[in-house]
Amino acid sequence: MVRTYFLLLWTWTRAAAAYPASFALMTLLGFVTAGIDVAVILIVFANTTTLAGFSREEVLFLYGAASLSFTICDTFVSNIDRISQHIKAGTLDTFLIRPVGAWIQLTADRFNANRVGRIIQSALVLGYAIAALDLDWRRAWMIPVMVVTGVVIFAALWTFGGAMQFVLTDAPEVANAFTYGTQQLSQYPFSIYARDLVKGVTYVLPLAFINWQPGLYALSRDDPFGTPEFMRFLGPAAALVLALLAALAWRQGIRHYRSTGS
């Protein structure tokens, strides 16, 4: 299954490599698009030195980590949110006659290797922030854990978004509110949000574990909302639970499609 996935990716990459100028242009534009969010943060901090108690480098750290998780998922998983186009065109059937799961095929469908540019951009921002901050090196292990947890959570969100489109075939944009919305949410420290919202994204939909809770640990900071220390480490568990729920939702979606037709 993994081999099939990478084979599909490789085939798409090779096809894109036949147009190197276009590829280079799109990679550059990916860089620029991702750069807007950084520019916004920089402009905010051109007007203030702290935002809700966090410095510019701390915000860039949180942004970088979340963005790295997001762009990795955006590159390797996000194509699944085009499923409503396939349902409407009838091409989902083409995926279902293959001896491979639909999820793998859809996430690899029309893989855009040029999105790697955005991954690099996020890594650079994260790298800069880590270098500029004086982090406790004994806590640095949390950073890769954080990024991987984030990838799993975003992958789960995209899978939910795909499953949603089996039912909301005419309104696929709703899924964007969850995937891109979560990215927007994670770009800034949660201390800017209202307490109820933060509770919701910690206990109901565990988005706080993408970068906020583990990030507090890496930054050696206390939670302004006063959550206990052990919660900093719940990321992987939360991600796992969310992933399982997403897998169930996806299976349900496919089952729904196969029992109602298109």
Binding site: T4, T11, A89
Partner: protein, 248 residues
């Protein structure tokens, strides 16, 4: 090879229940070449989808190559080949040869067998000239030949075709018919062919099934079919009579 036992499929369309297929039963043995006819909306595509596992039946049993398509979809996928006339199963933006390579890996065909089969298919279907062309730039006839090759690369036991000759010119049709006949006689592949083109039926099928309003109206040989309307000499007349006659 293909068994349907009292299969039914209903859809809920805005508070009405539409029975696309009702109480459908037939058996196709290995190596047969069966034509599947019916007016538009009769339930042909619905039957095909249920055979492939794309759609689950609301009642009854379906078995293809001994497997239940709704439960063993991926296992079955290795043993059947499907051609949709109106949609391609190839990757639209990629060159034809890339689609074939992907299929080789998806279906886990070993390199040697793949090479032999591809060379054979490329020769019989005359694909050489456009193997490197992206599928979206192919003409309809070329794309159809590509789809046929793609469906057969993994040497399936059953081949299901949903209107494969639609929109093709006379010469292309003849070529595809000859090819299908060879596949059936030389490889022993069981073929189920859905078509509106009665020429396909006449030249290829010994057995014909006619479906109308979701029910099987006729199941027998071509001669038996002609006998249902004595006095009408062409297959077209006979089938027209059958369609209009069985309107409920």
């Amino acid at each position: 090879m293909i068994e349907l036992d009292r299969v039914g499929r209903s859809f809920k369309v805005k508070r009405n229940v539409v029975h696309a297929v009702q109480d459908l039963s037939f058996t196709v043995s290995a190596g047969e070449f069966v034509g599947y006819l019916g007016p538009n909306g009769a339930g042909k595509s619905t039957t095909i989808k249920m055979l492939c596992g794309i759609l689950t039946p609301t009642s009854g049993k379906v078995r293809v190559a001994g497997l239940d398509p709704s439960r063993r979809r991926t296992a079955l996928a290795r043993r059947i080949g499907v051609v949709f006339g109106q949609r391609t199963t190839l990757w639209w933006d990629l060159p034809l040869t890339d689609s074939f390579q992907l299929i080789r890996h998806l279906y886990r065909v070993d390199r040697a067998s793949f090479r032999t089969r591809l060379d054979e298919l490329a020769e019989t279907l005359d694909l050489g000239g456009f193997l490197r062309t992206p599928v979206r730039q192919l003409s309809l006839g070329q794309r159809m030949r590509g789809d046929l090759a793609a469906a057969l690369l993994h040497a399936p036991e059953v081949l299901v075709l949903d209107e494969p000759t639609i929109g093709l010119d006379v010469v292309s049709k003849a070529g595809i018919r000859a090819f299908l006949r060879r596949v059936n006689t030389e490889q022993g592949t069981t073929v189920l062919l859905t078509t509106h083109d009665l020429g396909d039926i006449e030249r290829l099928c010994r057995r014909v099934m006619v479906i109308d309003h979701g029910r099987l109206g006729f199941d027998g040989t071509l001669d038996d079919l002609m006998a249902t309307a004595p006095g009408r000499s062409s297959l077209e007349d006979v089938v027209t009579h059958l369609y209009t006659g069985t309107t409920s």
